[in-house]
Symmetry: C2
Subunit: 148 residues, 2 copies
DNA sequence: GTGCGGCCTCAAGTACACTTGAGGTCAAGT
DNA sequence: ACTTGACCTCAAGTGTACTTGAGGCCGCAC
């Protein structure tokens, strides 16, 4: 099983080397080390990192992604079945998000005529309280629930 | 035309007072002032701020939102037609985003069987280069193009 | 065995979107 | 007049997600 240095992982995934090191610090990958202390990755790690990129793109936080990845086995290399399980969970999160956006769009359609966007009666404004429930920091898109 | 103090605006919109002041600093609202220096808002400002909240929820940045709001008239109170124009533009941004997510979901469906997520052949992995094109800072959801 | 590119750590910096705190003013009610 | 709560400014802090920089090893190629 080929061991891959960080630079090559970076090239293959499109991530910056610094980002990969950061993800290790965040517990998203656990590369091995050479005798001299340099990181060595396995192919399964590239898979993990690709998952991280895609999930990030969808607006999931690192904490969410860590939770999702924790469903993969720790000691053994994840099998196809492990990844399939993860993907299915992921797909349902995606469905929820799409549904939320679609609903919002439909409500927006209903609102375009009224031009209010703020009156207490406006459906769009009263849509839900997700925004209020979020804490500080960057807010992600509607319905950003943790993967689990 | 009733002039509204910041606390009431906060209550009506659900925003924190500090957030409203921040949005003023960012140029998203321009409240007037009393002789004593306290902010006074008009009803149209509540509308603006509600728009800001909704757009934020969709993952648009403050810069994007500022651009969008700049299509509203500066001196005159925006009319229903002004808001409708803005909403339509907004709606199309939303459509783009929904389409992107839906496409990603479909690709994910095609990928669930293979469990790869990382091989060069994987459609999901090769989906596009949006992530790489984004700069530093928090990344928002797929297809986050400026509103314009 | 030496040069050099890639790797290492650790601290600090950056961008976004706000919040918190200190210290002080305004204005409405009694 | 005075109290009190809402408001003011300005500086600093927070959380997320990284990047940049300084200063220094690793290891392969020649």
């Amino acid at each position: 099983m080929a061991l891959i240095p960080i630079g090559e992982v970076a090239q293959r995934t499109g991530l910056a080397v610094s980002a990969i090191r950061f993800y290790e610090e965040m517990g998203l990958v656990r590369p091995g080390r050479t005798a001299g202390g340099q990181r060595v990755f396995e192919r399964a790690d590239i898979r993990r990192l690709s998952f991280v990129m895609i999930a990030q793109r969808l607006g999931f936080s690192i904490a969410d992604i860590r939770t999702a990845l924790s469903s993969l086995p720790d000691e053994r290399t994840p099998t196809k079945a492990d990844w399939t399980r993860l993907s299915l969970r992921f797909r349902s999160a995606l469905d929820t998000r799409i549904q939320g956006l679609t609903e919002l769009r439909d409500r927006l359609d209903g609102c375009i005529g009224c031009g209010c966007l703020s009156l207490d009666l406006c459906q769009l404004h009263n849509f839900d309280d997700i925004a209020a429930a979020n804490g500080t920091g960057p807010r992600y898109v509607l319905g950003n629930k943790p993967l689990n």
